[in-house]
């Protein structure tokens, strides 16, 4: 290799590479997967979410977000901010405590782990003694009270986690100071709750699992779930596993064992536990009482509810998934004002409810929006949206959001220092339920703009009048559905598979699971129209096949009223109705190309006429014909089912305690025999050259429009290119009538070229490079003066990207010019590919086009154009994360997105110039109370108003600690 390196050029190239490429995972969009803990700092106005995978995420004002990951791969069970500090403590599943802080670094805040701690009990003590069940950060900011499973309360000094053994409240101490008749013979069980008296920080109530509350020793026999100290310090609320809650008057100096009030709100029949209870006063009115759970076990035991009671208003908010935690934000600096918003973390989304507006509407979240409200089936990114289209989309989107509260987002901590995004980018996600969601992907917050549903075009089983919100008057409990997570799809055929949006013309085409292709136009007014379907037979008379898959969707015959937004005006339905695997739209020529596993077609959406169809199906490919129920899968499935059957029979045998031991043994033997069989056959891979008889060779993988030299080198003409799974490229020359006759003269297409790649690997991308070696611009890009016209003087080149190699051919005579092999060298295969422009971070005017490639190993490559040479390579996704790799989508400027969980996109960047990442600062809160502050010279800690000063302080803090 060294032999061939021309030294000077290479080093210059290396320098250029550094100026052009760098890899960063920048921001995670969407809703965290499997959240497990919620925390809130009223002083910082920051929200913290811990997840089961050990991640901790902080959110403040839109754009302010931090992420940290615990080294331990254990679930975060509790998150607590230290009052009036920038530190927070997390408790993990493995009983370790972690201290995190927000530290300023180069003018930006960073989330850092600064300490970890695990309680050590006395030698020989059982682990339950130190198993932490409750955490109370004391308002002094110096102490942490840790209640444990053994009933002890440990006191730890923070930061630094120094155990203050002499101050520990041991179970014996409690037992000896409490009258015997409260203790009984039974154990007090674990510490369930710890709460500090809001008025007197020296008073702490310890709630034991069995129901005893100490320091004021009150007792109730049913299991305690939660306690709450009212704002004035005069009452304690306790909630219980039988769905009841009690209010206790706190005596001034003596024991008061009279319960003030006890209630089972949804009583009569047995109720589920009230998991958490909060009461907050209002300035001039009745207090707000909020509690989670407590539903009647038999009839509504499966609901996930939070009840809000304020005076005569009583609502049971019915959430879409399990409630993890909730808190209430109150007005005013000291958090003493009226409750303003209820923040609820449920398993699949975050819901914020405006408690000050009539009807308690939901406040739309600027971040943490569940991307997966219906499963994401595909995504499409469009960079640099023209302002006019942006405005139109956001205004039709606003019409859909009228039911949201008008109040601004109540969590406002920190400040985002990220510059305004240089351009407006859209991310479109297609979903299983037939919707397409438009997201503003310009900046750090991925916020929803507009939602388009395609289901209305079709007759599906779901009755549109089947309203989920049908709340009959006087129903008890008074349910109200909140949240948007709805993973249940009415008809899987509606699923969106491919999306293409032309940002200049506002034409959108989407294609789905049942071979449906919709062409849509943005209309600012509602319109009633009938959508006529054009059925296109892709088999072209191929005989001997039987489609065993799903049927075509039925199109509604009557006119449908479409709301303002994208409205369908043409519909193509493929026959057989297989999944659409490739889609392209050329808005200048007004053509849509679509492909399935059987062939491809070209549709003229101006004349609403199909131009031509090409069947690519190999006559011996039975699998492609049978539809989604392939034989391979069904074998796997049947194997799995037989396993389940055996296991089930085993379980049921055990369950019923059948004394027929022989039967059980027989089942066991059968299972073991099958397992042994499985182990005997090792995982092995067949080594065989691909042949034309392989399955799905006809599946169309990519479609591409180009105005290039197809027949001779002096006349360019419009063309359509298609690449198949079997390594075949078809080129069609298109003849478009002159503009004035566009509506009435037919478009003609005739085959011009057919290239069979000898290595037969699936063709995943086709690009035509102009005379300068630059990719041809998008349709209408030149017309809008946003790209220079392609160089038509020099010869054009055709770049065919297969899963295994990149190959450049000359045009019009297709002869191979150069190539880059990938699979033959390192065994990786191309999974995703896109063309991107990389600007240099040194000189404003220098940039290059390149191919961005994601392989099945999860590595990202940049390949130069037109010379097809590997430039850089970065590991990005774990190779086992198949769905993450499949979900990846690239932008035109070297960024990309992929799903790290069903609900979250990770954004990454390969460009030095284009980088969207959170840049934010959180100042230490102002507080006159006891504070831990190092004595640094010359800086006053009071009345700090400006971020700059805060930064200085934080820097000096840093300096002190290091």
């Amino acid at each position: 290799m060294k032999r061939f390196r021309r030294h000077g050029q290479e080093s210059q190239r290396d320098r250029l590479k550094q100026e052009l490429f760098q890899f960063n995972k920048t921001v995670e969009h969407g809703f965290p997967h499997q959240p497990s803990a919620l925390g809130y700092s009223p002083s910082l106005q920051l929200l913290a979410i811990g997840t089961r995978s050990g991640a901790i995420k902080l959110y403040g004002a839109p754009g302010v977000e931090f992420m940290g990951l615990h080294d331990e791969n254990a679930a975060v069970t509790q998150v607590h901010f230290l009052p009036h500090q920038v530190e927070l403590v997390t408790l993990l599943d493995d009983n370790s405590l972690h201290m995190w802080t927000l530290r300023a670094h180069k003018g930006l805040s960073e989330l850092l782990e600064i300490g970890r701690f695990t309680l050590t009990g006395p030698p020989g003590a059982p682990p339950s003694v130190t198993r932490v069940t409750a955490v109370l950060p004391h308002s002094s900011g110096e102490l942490l009270l840790l209640g444990t499973e053994g009933g002890h309360v440990f006191i730890v000094e923070v930061p630094g986690f120094r155990e203050l053994e002499e101050r520990n409240i041991s179970l014996d101490q409690v037992a000896s100071s409490v009258p015997d008749d409260y203790i009984g013979r039974r154990n007090l069980e674990h510490v369930e709750a710890l709460q500090e008296n809001p008025v007197n920080p020296n008073q702490v109530v310890i709630g034991y699992g069995r129901g005893l509350m100490v320091v004021w020793d009150l007792e109730k026999q049913c299991q305690l779930e939660s306690v709450w100290w009212t704002e004035d310090g005069g009452y304690i609320l306790s909630s219980h596993s039988d769905g009841s809650y009690c209010r206790w008057m706190v005596g001034v100096d003596d024991v008061n064992e009279e319960e003030e009030k006890s209630d089972i709100p949804y009583g009569h029949f047995p109720c589920k536990a009230i998991m958490k209870i909060i009461q907050l006063p209002t300035e001039d009115g009745p207090p707000f009482l909020l509690f989670s759970g407590g539903m009647p076990r038999a009839s509504y035991g499966d609901r996930h509810c939070i009840t809000v009671i304020h005076g005569k208003t009583h609502v049971a908010l019915d959430f879409t998934s399990r409630i993890i935690d909730f808190f209430v934000i109150t007005d005013g600096l000291q958090q003493k004002g009226d409750p303003s918003a209820l923040v609820v973390l449920v398993e699949e989304e975050l819901v914020v409810i405006d408690l000050q507006t009539e009807g308690w509407p939901v406040i739309q979240t600027p971040y943490l929006v569940p991307l997966h409200s219906s499963a994401i089936t595909c995504s499409h990114h469009v960079s640099a949206i023209p302002f006019k289209l942006w405005e139109r989309i956001s205004s039709v989107g606003e019409l859909q959001n009228t039911h949201y509260s008008k109040k601004p987002w109540p969590i406002t901590g920190g400040q985002s220092l990220a510059p305004d995004p240089p351009q407006r980018d859209l991310l479109l996600t297609g979903h299983e339920d037939g919707t397409v969601r438009f997201w503003d992907a310009s900046g750090v917050c991925l916020s929803p703009m507009y939602k388009l549903s395609t289901a209305g075009v079709f007759d599906t089983d779901a009755d549109p009048n089947d309203n989920m919100n049908q709340g009959t008057e006087g129903e008890w409990p008074p349910f109200r559905k909140v949240g948007c997570f709805d993973p249940y799809s009415d008809d899987p055929r509606l699923g969106i598979q491919k999306i293409h949006l032309c940002k200049y013309s506002g034409y959108l085409t989407v294609a789905g699971t049942a071979g449906q292709i919709l062409v849509m136009e943005l209309n600012d007014e509602a319109a009633e129209q009938t959508v006529e379907a054009k059925v296109v037979d892709l088999l072209q008379g191929q005989e001997g096949f039987r489609w065993k898959g799903h049927t075509r969707l039925d199109v509604r015959e009557e006119p449908v009223l479409f709301p303002p937004g994208f409205q369908p005006f043409a519909l193509v339905q493929c026959q057989p109705p297989a999944v659409v695997t490739a889609l392209n739209l050329h808005s200048e020529w007004k053509l849509v190309a679509f492909g399935t596993s059987h062939g491809f077609g070209l549709f003229d959406y101006q004349q609403k006429n199909n131009v031509f169809v090409k069947c690519t199906l190999n006559p011996s490919d039975q699998l492609a014909m049978e539809g989604p129920l392939s034989r391979v899968k069904s074998i796997k499935k049947s194997l799995r089912q037989s396993f389940r059957r055996i296991r089930r029979s085993r379980v049921s045998l055990r369950k019923h305690h059948v004394n027929n031991a022989a039967k059980l043994q027989e089942a066991n033997a059968r299972l073991e025999a099958e397992l042994a069989e499985m182990e005997l056959a090792p995982v092995q891979r067949k080594i065989e050259a691909r042949s034309s008889d392989d399955s799905f060779t006809g599946l169309v993988r990519t479609l591409y429009f180009a105005d290039t030299f197809l027949s001779d080198s002096s006349h360019n003409s419009p063309s359509l290119w298609a690449g198949t799974n079997g390594g075949c490229v078809f080129a069609y020359m298109l003849r478009l009538p002159p503009v004035e006759h566009r509506a009435d003269e037919p478009i003609t297409a005739h085959p011009a070229k057919e290239i069979q790649l000898m290595h037969r690997a699936p063709v995943v991308g086709i690009v035509v490079l102009d005379g300068h070696g630059a990719p041809l611009p998008e349709p209408l890009e030149v017309a809008h003066d946003l790209a220079r016209s392609p160089e038509m003087q020099g010869s054009h080149h055709l770049l065919v990207i297969s899963e295994e190699q990149f190959k450049v051919f000359t045009l019009p005579k297709v002869s191979a010019k150069m190539k880059l092999k990938l699979t033959a060298i390192d065994g990786s295969r191309v999974r995703r590919v896109g063309v991107a422009w990389f600007g240099s971070n040194r000189s404003e005017d220098y940039g290059e086009s390149g191919l961005v490639v994601l392989t099945n190993q999860g590595d990202l490559h940049v390949v130069s154009l037109p010379s097809v040479k590997l430039q850089v390579q970065y590991p990005c996704i774990r190779k086992e994360d198949v769905s993450g790799i499949a979900s990846c989508v690239f932008t035109k400027h070297g960024q990309g997105f992929y799903l790290i969980s069903p609900s979250e996109f990770e954004r990454f960047s390969l460009s030095t110039r284009c980088l969207v990442e959170p840049r934010c600062l959180v100042g230490a809160p102002l507080h006159s109370g006891p504070q831990r502050r190092p004595q640094t010279d010359g800086i006053s800690y009071c009345h700090i108003l400006f971020a700059e000063v805060l930064q200085e302080i934080q820097k000096s803090l840093e300096g002190d600690q290091t």
């Binding site: 061939f4 090409k614 891979r685 065989e688 050259a689 290595h759 297709v814 880059l820 092999k821």
Partner: protein
């Protein structure tokens, strides 16, 4: 791809249609498949039909894969007759003009200026050998070979499988496993890739050079250590046209012993000139009625190949069909056009000079190193 162009004859299967070409002249005649006769009778017949009674000829035929193979004895004559379906294409050349190198695997396609298509076979050389039974090794089509014996440790074996142009499947499976390596820290168990199964009748099995439980060390010069089973599978499939795998045979008793041994090399140190001296194997010539003795004893060819052959770009000769410039009416384009009435096949080859990518260059140079020493 060319097999699709063959249309089964509707004629009686007993007659073999023969199309014989000598110079610019064609002769057509037929033979009885069941009674082909002997080779020297056939040779006489050819001289007779071409009216060249005293010209010494080299006889070649195009087999089902489009390869040009010689006919110079009864066995390969019978083979040619029995496999002809339906047409037997013969190519005759004057013996004095003979170029022996044209025979062999893909001899019709290797020459850069010939056409890649069985339909339009246009060999520019065909030869006839005098009826000497033992012909030169180059008259045979290589199927597999052991290469780089001189640069590899004796415990390893580098095997080249020539898949191209054959109907036979490669025919083997690989699996994950672990092997023990000697490291400075002592013995260490490391993951490895092993051959797990041979398909009976497949290319891998028929060569006898690979066996179940052989550990795969390299694929086309790239080490597989650290690569997953799927990665190695993809590498092998990507190189399947010309697969070179380096294995550590499970059975270490059949290793090629470098000093002495074998055939005629003799010299203990020098490895040059040892090519193809320890025996030869070929498969596929054992017609049912034929002798087939050679095929039944698959011994190994030890060959050192010229560089150009190893970096074979045959696989890249993508087939390009230029569809005639004049358009069919649009209504008809929907119909199956993949068999155009008069397709023009354009061969195109990679320009191997400066345009080859660095990676390819790197690889070539590697391979160069592997063979240059031995030549």
């Amino acid at each position: 791809m060319n097999k699709n162009h063959r249309v089964p004859s509707s004629r009686s299967l007993s007659a073999v249609e023969v199309k014989s070409k000598f110079g610019a002249e064609f002769r057509r005649f037929s033979l009885d498949r069941s009674k082909p006769g002997r080779f020297d009778e056939f040779y006489g017949l050819l001289q007779h039909v071409h009216r060249i009674p005293n010209v010494e000829l080299l006889v070649g035929y195009a087999d089902v894969h489009g390869d040009l193979l010689p006919i110079n004895n009864d066995d390969n004559y019978h083979k040619a007759i029995s496999t002809a379906s339906p047409l037997l294409r013969l190519f005759l050349h004057r013996k004095e003009e003979a170029d022996y190198t044209t025979f062999g695997t893909d001899s019709l396609t290797r020459k850069k200026n010939t056409v890649l298509s069985a339909v339009l076979l246009r060999p520019d050389a065909n030869k006839k050998k005098p009826p000497v039974i033992i012909s030169l090794p180059r008259d045979f089509r290589p199927v597999s070979s052991i290469i780089d014996v001189d640069i590899l440790p004796e415990t390893h074996r580098r095997v080249r499988l020539y898949k191209h142009g054959q109907e036979k499947p490669l025919g083997f499976y690989i699996r994950d496993g672990s092997s023990v390596r000697v490291t400075p820290q002592g013995l260490e168990k490391v993951p490895g890739i092993f051959i797990s199964r041979m398909v009976p009748g497949g290319l891998a099995e028929s060569t006898g050079l690979l066996a179940v439980n052989d550990e795969v060390l390299e694929v086309n010069g790239i080490e597989v250590a650290g690569k997953s089973l799927d990665q190695v599978t993809d590498m092998m499939i990507a190189n399947s046209h010309n697969l070179i795998i380096t294995v550590k045979p499970a059975n270490q008793r059949n290793n090629v012993v470098r000093s002495g041994g074998g055939g005629g090399g003799g010299a203990a140190s020098g490895s040059s000139g040892r090519s193809s001296d320890s025996g030869a194997s070929y498969y596929g010539y054992s017609s049912p009625g034929g002798v087939g003795a050679a095929a039944s004893m698959p011994t190994h060819i030890i060959q050192n190949f010229p560089v150009g052959e190893i970096e074979s770009d045959e696989e890249d000769e993508d087939l390009v069909i230029e569809v005639g410039g004049e358009a069919e009416p649009i209504r008809r384009t929907g119909s199956n056009y993949s068999m155009p009435s008069l397709p023009r096949y354009e061969p195109h080859l990679n320009l191997r000079s400066a345009t080859t990518s660095t990676l390819a260059m790197e690889r070539r140079s590697l391979e160069e190193d592997g063979t240059v020493i031995t030549l």
